[in-house]
Each structure stands twice: as structure tokens, then as C-alpha cells.
């Protein structure tokens, strides 16, 4: 749930989603669920020339499984907190494995 928890804090921030088909979409993160499906608003494709058919699209729903990378806005990430959250997650996982 760490990533879900993390992405929830990025709601209403501008992110770039890089898909596994090399399409990069930049837009405002509107919503994310536990499958890391993503809803973007006000999108524009990074390489508009290559994907002109997407220039008319205003918002998208991206299935979580097709996402390769999410480019984060650095100032919206609390690194120290993220480290702690990761530690907790790891500890929880370790507890579960026992």
C-alpha cells in the first residue's frame, strides 16, 4: 500500500506518466486507486508530433499495469517521510513473512 499511499499525496500535482508503449503523458493527477490506476486531467502528450491523435484528448484513465514510470514533482515528495514509510512497509512485510 506504500505506493498507493504515496501517490495519493500527489493528487492535484502535475505528473508525467511514461507508459510501457513509450508514450509519455503529462497531466494533473486526479485520482489513483490501489491498483495504481491513474486518472489524469488536462493532459498533453510529451511528444505531440509523434502522437497527434492524442492532441484532442483532455483526460485519461490509465490502467496501472501499463505504467512504466511516473515522473514526480520533487517538491511534493517528503523524502525523509518516504524513507520512514518504506521502513514501516518493510517491517510490516517482514512481520507478515514470519
Amino acid at each position: 500500500m506504500l505506493f498507493f499511499s504515496f501517490f495519493k499525496t500527489l493528487v492535484d500535482h502535475e505528473v508525467t506518466i511514461e507508459l510501457k508503449n513509450d508514450l509519455s503523458i503529462r497531466g494533473t493527477l486526479k485520482s489513483v486507486d490501489q491498483f495504481l490506476n491513474i486518472k489524469l486531467d488536462d493532459i498533453h502528450v510529451v511528444d505531440e508530433v509523434k502522437y497527434p491523435h492524442l492532441s484532442a484528448v483532455k483526460n485519461v484513465f490509465i490502467r496501472g499495469s501499463v505504467v512504466r514510470y511516473v515522473h514526480l514533482p520533487a517538491n511534493a515528495v517528503d523524502t525523509a517521510l518516504l524513507e520512514d514509510a518504506t521502513r514501516r512497509e518493510a517491517a510490516a512485510q517482514a512481520n507478515k513473512a514470519k
Partner: protein, 862 residues
Amino acid sequence: MSFFGFDTTLPRDRASHAAPHPKQAPGFSQQRDAFAGLSRGDSGGGGGNNAEEGYDFEDTYDGLGDELDERDDAFNDETFGGSGAAPDKDFDFFGSTAKVADAINEEQLLYARVPKKAAAQPAQTQQRQTKPAVSYAAATKPKVIQKHVEIPDIPELKPEMSLWTTTSPEATPAKSMSAHAAAHFRHIEAQEPPQMKSLAGSLAPSAAPAAAATASATTRKFKSLEEVEAEILAKKQAKMAAAAQVQPPPPQSIQPQLNQQLNQQDGWPIRQMQQPQQPFPQISMPNQSMQAQPIQQLQMELPFPARSMPPPQQSQRPPQNDRVPDHLQRGSIPGHLPFQPMPQNQQFPANNMQFPMGMMPPHAGQPPFQGMPPMGQPQIMQMTEEERNKFLEEESKRLKRNHKIQQLSRYNGLMTPSDKNFITRIQLQQLVSVNEDQFNEDFYYQVYMAIRARNNPQQPLNQFAQTYLGQQGARGGRARRQDNHLLRMQQQVQRAVQAAKARPKASQLVLEGSLGKISFSNVKTPKPLLSIKKQDSTGLANPDPKAAHSTFAGIDRRSILSAAEDIYRCLLDLDSHERKHPGSNLAGQQPDAATIQWLETRDAMIAKLWRSMRIMEPIKAESKAPHPFIAILSVKKAKEAIPRVFRYIDLEQRITILTMITISLDQVDVIKDGRYQVDAVALSPETRKKIEGFSQYVLPPLLSYVSEAQLSVITGLLGILIDRVNVLVLSQTQIGLAFLTMFTSRAEIIKQAGSADEMEVAKWTQMYDRLFSILEDHLLDIFPPHGVQVDDMYVWQFLASMAVGANMQQQQKMVGAVKDRVNENVQASKTLPQEMGQQKLANTNLFLRALGLDIDLLLAQQ
């Protein structure tokens, strides 16, 4: 809608409302019609139809005759031999049959009744007891009508509608379950979200059958009730038309459906079940309301598949059709309102007018679809002007509302109950994790939002509340209105969560004889993780972590890192423990048991944290390896942990840390690597980062401690430093100088404040002299080489702090030593960019000010 479930919709209405999905089809927001089979059996077993219903031709005519193609009928005479001659009697089968028609019908009737009677014996008797009127009437039905009834059934056979309906638990009364029904219910239960269960369980026994009765089923019960009421009324009011009894008005059928639809629009499917129970306790005829339960029960036991054949009358009923006009008609039923408050009243007050008693003459016989509110002209005429206006106003209001409902209900029934259950389950599971421990599952989000909420108290809370169904919404004033609502929802969720927890969870299913396992995914692990068994004894570097703990060498990076993680683990535990604080006590009150226990646990955890820092391990003078704590401190994350550790530890432990660092200062990485190599322009970036980290994370807590320390402590610390550490080396590093600055400046502050006694001051002065004598010949060495490019503020800070405490002689020595450097800086500041130059001058000025000089004097001189 008629009592026995025939479509009383007029053909024209039927044609004009081609519904996308038959209203009857269960699973589309319909509850199961538990009485469908029974009434059929009734009509079949009773051998014909209700005499008193007296079908109109208009009502039953299916309109097929209108569709006949009569264009080519012209030559019928030719084909069939003309109409002139009387037909031969040879083929007059009917004529001869007609003579014995009555007997045949009688036979048929008997035949139809006997086998079913045997099978449904209990049902029949029960029925006779409860509603004899209907049964007797059925027995004496004219035969002709029976034919009439059976025909429309045929085209409307639906394949196994019960397949859909079985998923709705409401269909089964919670209490009066037969064994068959119980098994069925258990099956349902397994599929239901726990919330449903708890609700079903919480229904009152008397309400259970009511809830169980589906929309149309309740309808039919109402019908019979209406009949009885109508009879009573007929006695009272002689003018009551006979038609009122014969054809019970349909309007009541609407109530449950409407409720249901409205509830769905609400978005709370749960309430569906709560609604229908309301009319029942209010009904004044006890035997009528009793009726529902036994019949329902019997039906479950009956062997013949009563339910598999849906009652015909609803299947063609278009959804929009039956709602609005029927609803409008509700007001027109005389005698109903006083007897039976409408359930909608509670939910939609504006929707329901209370017509004054007796204002309306009987209109029950009116056909269902007139397109007009049944409130006829005569009543309006009888009203006063004011009443009429009011009535019309309310009428239009209601019409508007109905229109809106209709608009909204366009998408009703798009989701089957199982769809809804699925969604509910997902949402519930979400809530389960939320309720469990917010900080466990959702740590980052929760803390992040909490931090932001602290910075910006308004906005994030709303978002927070939204995300969790207003879980904390009560805090904001905005959510006040929904509080009750949310509270109820929360309680339901809690119950549901408890039920979910109580149920044992299986993560895998192994079918007998199968080769593999089937893993279930849930919301937390959408896809099952690979479950790789950890081999405990092999592969790990340290088989016994305890042993590693005691024999910590502090040499290899791996153990250092894991030691740092230990610190963090303790810190996180402490943090989460801190959140569980039982609540602040009022001053003066004795701490309660929970608080005491909490404090004890906290102390134990702090002790654990302290141990994890390994600071108390003895210093081995002979070993070259640094002390474990110093070794741990060499990693960045350990440095970052220091401020957090300082939050929990007490003063004594703080001074221990300070002393430990001071004693081993030459071993601390930032000192060891902090010296400038010969002819190196700058330190390596890695070291610079370390120095930055040290001064950002470790120094401030130490400084905050030192700034409150006594002079004796400072003197002691400086003594240790001079005794055990090479001060000259120290003075050539940034952090080393920072330590010296820290001590000297604090001592100077205490001295000037005059809070220390003479002896302390004398001791300090002695110590200071020692320090000065060590450094006085090497004052130029403390500057970084090529200081022009490097930020040398810390050097000037140190010099300033030294100068403040120095006597005249020492000051002169210092000035003499660094005079060239000062001039150099002043010169450099002129060639450097404006900003950097100003910075350099300001740094230099720090020192000059401490001497009682100012850079401006120097600049003026030149």
C-alpha cells in the same frame, strides 16, 4: 397492477413504453417476487379466476385482433365455399362438444386441482385460514375466464429468473426460514458483503418478512388489504361502486418500487431493506400482515418450482410507466390514507400530500393510466380558492419531483445486485484497512497530510475527510449536516469490518486432485506475491542476529548500516507509540493506569533506542577501530536520526552523546576526511556532503544542548578535547572549528552574563589559555587553502569567538597572525562579484567586530 398479477396495462400504454429491460426481470433493482408462484398456483389450483375481479374487455384484450391483416380477405368466400350456404354439420365438432362443455370443464377443473392439492396441502389449508375469501372465490370461478388467463402467460415465460434473484438476501426472511431456505440463505450470505449481513440480522422479526417481500409481493399483499378495506368502506358508504372491489386500484404497488428507486438514487443501497418494513406495523389489519410470513415460508418448502415462472403481469411493464402515473393516483384512494400512512412520507415529505379525509370520492375503479392526476375536476371544484391553489401548487411540485426522479432513474437497474456487491466489497475493504490502523497501511499519506494540515489548517482536512468518507469530517464545520448520516454509516462499517475480521481468511485454495493452488487476491495484494520460502539457516551472513549484536565490530559497512536501521526501527516504534498516547491528563490529576502503562512502555522503548545506538559500549583504547557509535554516525542516515533521537532521550543521555562525540572527534569521518590535502583546492564532494549533513543534523541538537550547559561542563568538555584529541588537526577542519567555536562562544556568553562563579571562570580562562597557546602559532593554518574561492565563514566565526574571550595580548597576537588574511579578503572582495564580495567582507567583519574594530575603518584607511 391487479391482485393476481395480470398485466392490466392497456395495450396502447404497453406499446408506447418499450422498456429496455422488463421491470420484472429480477436483478435489475428488483427484489424477488416471493409470491409470484403462489398466486399462480392459486389461480391454477383454484381452477380458474376470480369471479369478483370481473375483467373488462379493455383490460384483458391484448390487441392482437387489430394487427390482423385483412387485405386479402376478399376471396375468403371462394376459398371456404361462400357464406350463403349453411355449413354442413359434418364438421360441427363444437356443436356437439358444446353440449357436454360444462361437464368437460368440470372434469378439467377437478383434474387440475387434485394433484396440486396433494402437493400443496399445507399451503392450501393455510391459505384458507388466512384468506378464505380469495380461496372460495377461486373455487367458484367461471371457467371462461380461466382460458382467458392462461393465454397471456405463454409468451412471457422467462428463463429461470430465479437465477438472478437468489442473490438478494432480502428475499429470505431472517427468522422464518425453513431448512431449505436456510441453506439457500447461507449460500447467499457467503456472497454478501458483511454489511448486508449485519443489516439483515438487525432487522426485527416482524420486519423481516416485510423486507423479504419484494416490491411486487408487497404490492399484492396491499391489494388484498385494500380489498378488505374497500369492503369495509363499501359497508360504510353505500355509494361505493362495486368496481372498486372488483378491480383493486394499482397505486399501492408503486410504493415499494418507488422507494427502492429513490433509495438507489440516494446511493445507499442498504436502505432498500429498511424501507419496506415500515408500512407493515402500521397496518390496521393484523391478519393481513400476518399473512405474508406463512405463505412466504411455505413457498420455500414447496417442491414445485413456483418461482421459476415469473408472474406475467410485470414483465411487460415498462419501468417509467408504472411509477409516475401510479404514484399520482395514490392520492385518490379513498380510505387509504387514514389507514395507512405512506412510507414515503418519512423520506420525502414534499412528495406526499395528505389529502383531507373525505375530500375525495371513490375513484378506485379508475383505470390506471389516465395521464392525469386522478384528482378529478369535481374535487377541485369543491375546494375553496385557497385550497385549490395550494393543491395545484403541491401538485405541480410533485409532478416536478416525479419528473426529476424519472430523469434520474433512467439508469436504474444498470447494475445487478452482484455488481453492487462487488463494488461495496471493494469499498468496504478499503475502509477496513482505513479503520485498522491508519498509520500502518497508509503511513505516508496520513503523516504527509497531517504535516500539511499543520501548515495549512483549512484545505487538507477537507480532502482528508473526503477521502475517508468524512471520517474526520466532524472536525470541519462543513460536514456538520451530514454528521448523523456519516455516524450511521461509520457504525455500519465498523460492524461490517468486525464481521469481516471474524471470518477466517484463506489466501489459497487447494482443490482436491488439482495440481496447483488458486490464490485469491485482495485489495491489499491485488496480485499474489511470489511466496518464496526464506531459508533461515543458509544464505544469511549472520545466522544469529543476537550474536552479531554483541560482537559488533563497527568495521564493515553492512553491519553499520543495519545498526543504523536498528536505530530507525526503534524510532519508528517510539513514534507510533507516541501517537497512542492515552490523552493528556489535566494538571494535578493522578495519571491513570493507561497513562502509567504507556509511560512504562515508552521508557522501555527509549532504553531500547539507547541500546541500539551502542553508545555505552566501552571505548577500546588499543583497537584502531572507531567506537561503534562513531562508526554508525559515519552514515548519513544515522546523522539524520540524531535530531529525532534527541527528542526522546533525557539530558544525561544528551551529554553522553556530546561527550562521546567530543572524545572521539578525531575519529569522526567529517574530521578525519575534513582536512584539506596539500595543494587541494577543495574537499571532495562526498566529504563536503558529509560535512553539510553533520552540520545540518548533528550540530544543531548538540548546539542546543551546549547553549544551555553550565560553564563547568564546557570547561570539562574542552579539557577532554585538548587532552585526547589533536587540536591542531581539529582546527584545520570545519566541524572541528565548529566544535571549538561552540564551546568558546558559550563560555563567553556565560562569562558575560555573570552567572558563573569566580572559580568556574578562572578554570575556564585557564582552559582557554591552553587552547590559545596550542593554536596561536598555527592561526593561518586554520584557513582553508585558497580561501578566496571557498566559503570561510566558519573560520571567521571561530576567530571572532576566540577574540571575544582573549585578553589584550592574545588579541594582538591574533591580529598580527591574521592581518594579512584580512587584507587579502578585503582585496578579494573588490574583485569578486558584488554579492560574494559583500559576504566576504561581512565574514571578516565578524572577527573585527569581536576585536572592537570595523571593516569600514579598514576600508576607509585604504
